[in-house]
Homo-oligomer: 208 residues x 2
């Protein structure tokens, strides 16, 4: 698994693999792709705005946003493979016989590790939302709807990835660790969900 990548799949192949009963890709991988497309739209808006006289005052900001959006796009694409790799040990842990004395510890550790990739995906999406929020003011009017789509896709990816954390958190025995994670999640969902909604409303205002 660690040597494989789904990033060479074309759109038809990837969607078919997602539709199948295969363990991966699943909701985590789909969320990561949606986040990557959201970040790509931030890049697109920068590419359509940079060099336009009307937005010359934002040139430096746009170059910075573009560089970061491209990094986020690449990392979110890699998130598809990261999420798949994280699933393997968890899947193995679930297959350990229930009377094996080692099972609980292996499972607990696998559950914690399986949260890493979706949390990383969430953090990258939050960053992409911040970029779209800025683009809602600095992006060219001809691409403003794409800022709205980007923010919406990143919010969906953020929320989708969070479900993959929630489902693992529920099975953890270490409740204090689990509750700390849930608090972190809720804060991210609230703060950046609202920022994405605000971005969408700003876009609607600029279109009107």
């Amino acid at each position: 698994m660690s040597e494989q990548t789904m990033l060479n799949d074309n759109l038809i192949e990837f969607s078919k693999a997602l539709a199948s009963k295969a363990a991966v890709p699943g909701g985590g991988g789909a969320s990561s792709v949606a986040g990557a497309l959201g970040a790509a739209l931030a890049s697109m808006v920068c590419n359509l705005t940079i060099g336009k006289k009307k937005y010359a005052q934002y040139e430096g900001d746009l170059e910075r946003i573009l560089a970061r959006a491209e990094e986020l796009r690449r990392k979110l694409l890699n998130g598809v493979d990261d999420d798949a790799r994280a699933f393997e040990p968890l899947s193995k842990a679930y297959s350990i016989p229930k009377d094996d004395p080692e099972r609980d510890n292996i499972m607990e550790s696998a559950l914690k590790d399986a949260c890493d990739a979706p949390i990383m995906i969430m953090e990258l999406c939050c960053e992409a939302i911040v970029l779209h929020r800025e683009l809602a003011e600095k992006g060219s009017a001809i691409a403003i709807s794409d800022v709205g789509v980007g923010a919406i896709l990143c919010k969906a990816a953020l929320t989708g990835a969070s479900l993959n954390v929630v489902i693992n958190v529920k099975s953890m025995r270490d409740r204090s660790y689990a509750e700390g994670l849930m608090l972190k999640l809720d804060n991210m969902l609230k703060k950046y969900g609202q920022m994405a909604d605000e971005t969408y409303r700003m876009v609607l205002t600029r279109i009107a």
Copy 2:
């Protein structure tokens, strides 16, 4: 353009094309992919539930949902190309000199036509949301988070595609046609947005 397809692009290529300043793919294509991934997750949940004794009572429903979800997945993937094709005449209309007496009529017609693909994408996403709503009750517990991710992605795709309609509607001279379209849009966003939110909440309840 009409002979070309972006569906053979792998995930890296598609996200790069999206990030570029090329006219297509844009927010419409990205929304369509997100919707296709959302529909694919409905298929996946069916594939992971069908044949399980615990859900035998839903077997007929699950087969029906699977068949429809696979159709929606394919149509939403094709939406990427449909959206790109719809953009070409509009792009040509924008390049007609402003003093050309034909410009207004050509533009009006191109604006109306350019709404067809995103409206179709919206309708397909609404249908996919209805499937996820049903799967929130009938899908296997082991795949329940994927129902939530699917509903969220379809709602984002629905909202994203709507922005591509809104931006064209704003430029239409036929205000009665434009307002009729906006009313239709608002109703879809409200009804199916709420259904997606309800699905997400049901998923959280089943996880807890």
